[in-house]
Amino acid sequence: MIDNLLNITLLAFLAITAFAIIRIRNLFAVIMLFGIYSLLSAGLFVVLDAADVAFTEAAVGAGISTVLMLATLALTKNHEEKPPAHRPWLPMIVVLVTGAALVYGTVDIPSFSDSEAPAHKHVAPRYIEEGFKETGVPNLVTAVLASYRGFDTLGEVTVIFTAGIGVLLLLGRRRGRKRGDEDNNET
């Protein structure tokens, strides 16, 4: 019961924060609100029994993402968003139509926390019943992450590595600094 109450409240807070992020033009405030948004969703993940995910979201979303966004804000020196030139009617219509279609789609979804839902009937029972016996690891999330779906995780790690290389290529320090200075003088 208390779980459901927390679930409903936190989700409502999330929606309010999202609307505040849309409305507010001061980018510093937007980034701070985004940190709050991440922390709220981390709390929600705890309520929904996903301790590992909550842990990650709290460290990544509320920590690193916010720091990186603030760093970008400092680099771009742009603290105020320009007001839109005209009322954005077209995006509003697109969003409302898409949203209505998605809500129509939820009618057939099994209701929340239904233990008979098809999602819990395929491979999950095997992980829960055999996971500890086969890997000797009590934390099933780690067992699935590192052992059953190890190849998947290798892909994810490679994506992170590639993103790091991408940032390095885009913003990394230029070696020949003299040539860079000349370029700047020309422009």
Binding site: L44, L68, A117, H120, L171
Partner: protein, 118 residues
């Protein structure tokens, strides 16, 4: 009533998803766009974790005396997605910084104007 409470999570997820989508397509400021993209992303995380939740279940860490566990599979998928998400966000922010250095602005309209005047 059961129907409303049974689908409340999904509906809020859709509202968040559309809020993120709206920010991406209607706002011209690039940092705001990336924030919208992140809201969209978090809404997908919430959808997966909501689906993984099981009535009366606990965190999927094997302990004595516990019978019912939540589905660990969505947790695994989302855990890695969060970390990959921050890495790709960093890449997007790096692009924003480069655009600002070349164009002197991060407003989409001004960038278009500069492109057209070339």
């Amino acid at each position: 009533m059961d129907f409303i409470f049974g689908h409340y999570n999904y509906w809020i997820v859709i509202i968040l998803m559309m809020a993120g989508f709206y920010t991406v397509i209607s706002r011209g400021n690039l940092i705001k766009k990336i924030t919208g993209l992140n809201i969209f992303q978090t809404s997908v995380f919430l959808l997966y974790i909501s689906i993984g939740n099981v009535e009366g279940g606990t965190t999927p860490i094997i302990a004595e005396g516990v019978e019912q566990y939540s589905n660990p599979l969505p947790h695994v998928l989302i855990l890695t997605a969060i970390v990959v998400g921050v890495a790709t966000t960093a890449l997007g922010l790096a692009l924003v910084v480069r655009i600002r250095e070349e164009y002197g602005t991060i407003e989409e309209e001004d960038i278009h104007k500069q492109d057209e005047s070339l």
